[in-house]
């Protein structure tokens, strides 16, 4: 049995099932990160002093540039499919994958530097919330990379069988990826600058 409304839009919502499902998933993600941001605010408001300058701002800024760049390449990957240019789509999707890998490499060096100095999550309240928020965000990056790897590899076959469905899948992947970028846009100033 075929799953309905993967290409054509539902008459009641005007959306494909996949797209509506992705947005509902993102809504739950907002709740998840919202709860953690709320925790951060409570811990910060309640603390007598809050550390400044513990994190490498330049590394954080580099990672912000990398994620913004990956968001641009992701949306270009989708737009290329809309223009029926699969080769360009593939190039942009690989670029997004590489940029997200670069983000994780930077994060690894950042974590390794802290841990080498004995500054683990148990070291202070600030580092506890830092590792929790960035760790969860990092897991989302890894999740996105797994999906991208699938569409670069075996999932790409769908383009030949059903190009519209493949384009919708890339659009939904893009929605998720832009959300991950959106979270970092707030994490960067909150953790690195303020």
């Amino acid at each position: 049995m075929n799953i309905p409304y993967v290409v054509e839009e539902r008459p009641d919502s005007g959306l494909t099932n996949g797209k509506l499902g992705t947005w509902l998933f993102l809504a739950s993600e907002v709740m998840l990160f919202g709860a953690l941001f709320s925790t951060y605010i409570i811990l910060r408001v309640g603390s007598v002093e809050w550390p400044h300058g513990e994190l490498n701002v330049w590394l954080g800024m580099a990672n912000t540039f990398i994620l913004i760049g990956s968001s641009v390449t992701m949306v270009m990957a989708w737009a290329s499919l809309k223009l029926n240019d699969f080769a360009k789509h593939r190039l942009y999707l690989i670029a997004t994958f590489v940029l997200s890998g670069l983000f994780l490499v930077n994060k690894y060096f950042e974590y390794a530097d802290h841990l080498a100095r004995g500054e683990g999550p148990a070291h202070s309240t600030f580092l506890a919330i830092y590792f929790t928020l960035t760790g969860l965000h990092g897991l989302h990056i890894i999740g996105g990379m797994v999906v991208m790897a699938y569409f670069i590899g075996p999932g790409a076959r769908l383009w030949k069988k059903n190009p519209e469905q493949f384009t919708n899948r890339i659009e939904n992947t893009g929605l998720y990826w832009h959300f991950v970028d959106l979270v970092w846009i707030f994490l960067f100033p909150v953790l690195y600058l303020l």
Partner: protein, 115 residues
């Protein structure tokens, strides 16, 4: 959403412009941080810039500037839930949750508490 190739090409231009603007705003955020403003002002400026960047990503990259009403409905519920998550727990700050406790427990008091 996008009817023809021409409208996609127009969208690509806006994607690239928004991407460039996001780079610039990130640079501005870091530059403002180097000035060492007073903490409340620094927080305000940083969050205004982050909010602007977030709006650009959501509106242009995630196409929220022209979406279906079901998506807006789901997002409205999300905003309500998010505001509850952000602000309701702040009420507990008045009860001392999150404040460091400076309680010295004497041996006798601890024994009393155990009993």
């Amino acid at each position: 959403m996008h009817a023809d190739a021409e409208s996609i090409r127009k969208s690509i231009r806006s994607y690239l412009m928004v991407g460039a603007a996001l780079f610039v705003f990130t640079g501005i955020t870091v530059a403002v941080n180097q000035i060492h403003l007073a903490v409340p002002l620094a927080i305000t400026v940083a969050l205004i810039i982050a909010g602007t960047k977030g709006t650009m990503v959501a509106a242009v990259f995630m196409h929220l500037n022209h979406e279906k009403k079901w998506i807006y409905g789901a997002l409205l519920l999300t905003v309500i839930g998010f505001l509850i998550l952000i602000f309701v727990p702040l009420l507990t700050v008045g009860n001392g949750i999150g404040t460091p406790l400076n309680v010295t427990v004497t041996h006798g008091a601890a024994e009393h508490a155990v009993r």
